[in-house]
């Protein structure tokens, strides 16, 4: 009797261990394979090209059934994604799409683990930092022929800058989702207190430092501008403005050791020494907290993060944005990036069709317009103006539209081994923030980056 009880107990403990180990995605895929086996007959007849186009222009029949999982790293953007999904469900009520969310810090780790073990989500938000790695290892479905799926979808309606990031071997591997840029956020109260005019979209670097001179008062814990250690949201735009950059145009060699890049970084670090909260302060407190406390007057941030400011009641009326300042003898530039929606390879037929149908809708005019409530900007041509219209009471949308519509966006590039050369670059930038000489560190970084870049494509 005792032995039976002991065996039962042990059995319960072992099964609870095993059962907790699996992800819900694997459970749903095993359910799906049983249902898809019974319906393969029907889907194969549709593959023959009989388009039973529904109202609005999808090609699958309106009762097509599938359950898909969709993962992204931005909880706020999921509100926009959900809007697209809800409208999509008006055409295809039986295609269920479940969005899940992984915080940015862990997103790529989890995705990589999922890819290695074959449990990737069906729909994946992709980023230029990592897309090439996933494409080259066969985890991303070829979406070049997405125009076959109706909804008037065409890649021609999306900006070349974003398409370029997700095009390899002349094939498109993801549907461009949005476009973004970096803007300057400023604290209206501190400018009023100092009697200064607010920043304009035409400010130069000298205007910035002049304002910082007035605004910075370190003894009273007031700082003009956060010259923070952040590539996309911080110094990278300024390298390009001066004629330098991270990589050369063709992405094969580092550009951080050019004279223009070094000059820009030296200007940046000069500002860091004079007008900026220390990097230590910036890691301990967030920028919106510092602005809220009237400690910080200006900082740079991406437009996708503006909700941190306008959703904060204390901050909503206190901040506004402007385009990034540019050097008087240089150009406007702001790092611009775009995300894409990708479909995972290896899906069963029924799910693959559903995923592609959704992708076509997602990139269509209607799908993009429905998601324009911000903070991220759908990239379909012209939707940025709709986005500006919907967000104009929250902040000066001209700061964004003037940069994007005038082509000031510089594509933030990723390559297959970006994780490695980025680490090398970030290590040396860390030493620069420690006080080391800018030129020496950037040249050392470029050397390491070039060694890594030379290994790509082998």
């Amino acid at each position: 009797m005792k032995k039976i009880l002991a065996v039962l107990l042990a059995g319960m403990m072992v099964t609870s261990l095993v059962a907790c180990g699996g992800e819900t995605t694997t459970e749903s895929t095993t359910e799906e394979t049983t249902t898809e086996e019974t319906t393969t007959e029907e889907t194969t007849t549709e593959e023959g090209g009989e388009t039973t186009a529904t109202e609005g222009g999808g090609v699958l029949p309106a009762d097509h059934t599938a359950t898909l999982t969709y993962v992204s790293w931005n909880d706020t953007q999921n509100v926009q994604n959900q809007a697209t999904i809800d409208k999509f469900n008006e055409y295809y009520p039986n295609i269920q799409i479940e969005i899940s969310y992984s915080a940015w810090n862990e997103y790529w780790n989890k995705l990589e683990a999922a890819a290695s073990s074959g449990t990737l989500n069906d729909l994946v938000t992709q980023h230029t930092n990592n897309i090439e790695m996933y494409v080259n290892n066969g985890f991303v479905e070829d979406l070049t022929n997405l125009a076959d799926y109706g909804f008037d979808f065409s890649y021609d309606n999306h900006p070349e800058g974003v398409k370029r990031l997700f095009r390899f071997d002349d094939k498109m591997w993801g549907v461009p989702k949005d476009i973004d840029c970096i803007v300057m956020v400023y604290n209206k109260d501190m400018f009023d207190a100092a009697g200064l005019d607010y920043p304009t979209d035409e400010w130069t670097w000298d205007d910035l430092t002049d304002a910082c001179e007035v605004l910075t008062d370190k003894d009273n814990n007031k700082y003009g501008f956060a010259f923070r250690n952040d590539q996309q949201g911080g110094y990278a735009s300024f390298l390009y403005q001066n004629g330098g950059g991270l990589l050369t145009e063709d992405g094969t060699k580092a550009l951080v050791d050019s004279d223009e890049s070094i000059e820009a970084m030296e200007w940046w670090m000069d500002g860091y020494a004079k007008y900026s909260p220390t990097q230590a302060m910036l890691t301990e407190s967030t920028m919106d907290a510092l602005i809220q406390n009237d400690t910080l007057a200006m900082c740079t941030d991406g437009n996708w993060a503006l909700n941190t400011y306008y959703e904060n009641e204390e901050l909503a009326d206190k901040f506004d944005i402007a385009a990034l300042p540019h050097p008087a003898d240089g150009e406007h530039a702001t790092i611009s990036n775009g995300l894409a929606l990708c479909v995972t390879t290896g899906l069963p037929e029924e799910k693959l069709e559903a995923a592609k149908q959704f992708a076509a809708y997602f990139g269509s005019k209607e799908g993009q317009e429905v998601a324009a409530m911000g903070p991220s900007i759908p990239c379909y041509d012209g939707v940025v103006d709709l986005w500006a219209e919907q967000n104009k009471d929250l902040f000066r949308t001209e700061a964004v539209t003037s940069q994007l519509n005038n082509g000031y966006g510089v594509q933030w590039v990723g390559t297959e081994l970006k994780t490695q050369w980025n680490q090398a670059l970030e290590t040396h930038i860390g030493y620069i923030y420690d006080g080391n000489d800018v030129a020496t560190e950037l040249k050392a970084a470029a050397e390491e980056m070039n060694a890594i870049l030379a290994q790509e494509g082998k």
């Binding site: 032995k3 002991a6 065996v7 042990a10 072992v14 261990l17 810090n105 780790n109 990589e112 890819a115 290695s116 790695m133 080259n136 290892n137 985890f139 814990n221 923070r228 250690n229 952040d230 220390t278 990097q279 230590a280 302060m281 910036l282 890691t283 301990e284 407190s285 297959e416 994780t419 490695q420 680490q423 970030e426 290590t427 930038i429 860390g430 030493y431 923030y433 420690d434």
Partner: protein, 306 residues
Amino acid sequence: MSKSKGLSRKHQDWLWGYFFVFPTFFGLCALNIYPIFKTLYMSFGTSGMFGKIVIDPNNVFGNYTRLFQDMEVWYAIRNTLVFTFISVPLGIVLAVVLASLMSQQIKGVGVYRVLYFMPVVAAPAAITMVWKLMYNEQYGVINTLIRAVGGPSISWLNDTRFCLLSCAIVAIWSGLGQQIIIMIGAITGVSKSYYEAADIDGASGARKLWSITVPLVSPSIFFILITGMIGALKQFDIVYMLYGKTNGVASVMNAVRTIMHKYYEQAFTVLDKAYASALVMVAFVIIMIFTIIQFVAQKKWVYYDN
């Protein structure tokens, strides 16, 4: 047929024994033993993406030579050792002293035990989040109190002299409860007659602690020493929670990054799993050396009844 029917009682017991042990044994093999050998294998190769490993027969020790030339790895080893030497001895001394205080029959001793044990059940992520706020140079509680009595603000997290100390404080605070509970158990097992004899001889409290309690509970002290030391040498979560992947200032990261934190960076941020495997093999050897030293030294100071 008749053979199985007539299995002796002893064989039957063995069979049941193996049957119960099997799940754990299986887990141990699959989740512990196999990964050790797989990691060793991976440490000799170079990593491709998504876990592919390629071993070049001409360059088997490439990762190891790179490791020994990488200054950040040496900093990590140094930081880990400093962290261990700060947090483990201090933790054990505090555990023994507090446990002996809490083994007495004073009023409210149950409350004290609960209070000291509570950090152990709190989630590490929650603990470090709260400590990070407390350590904040401008707004944190600790610096506010220091300024209130007229002292200078200390940058607990970003001053290279204090960052490991800050991590050690959090580590001691969160691990103390568990060590105290073990020590209380050991101390209450010491026969009262020893203390009575000492009282007759006129021994002070401290003398009793040092000459009676400590030798008699030395097996338990040895246990918490070994587990505490191994845990400190593997320290990752406190550093990761307080500093994230990096805080952007090289000197601070070089002063606080531990071996496991560097491993995490290499394996999951840079995605160079082969190099990370070599690193973790080196960490394994370091931990093993320390453990062997402790086991050899135990003959000198641990008193077992037999």
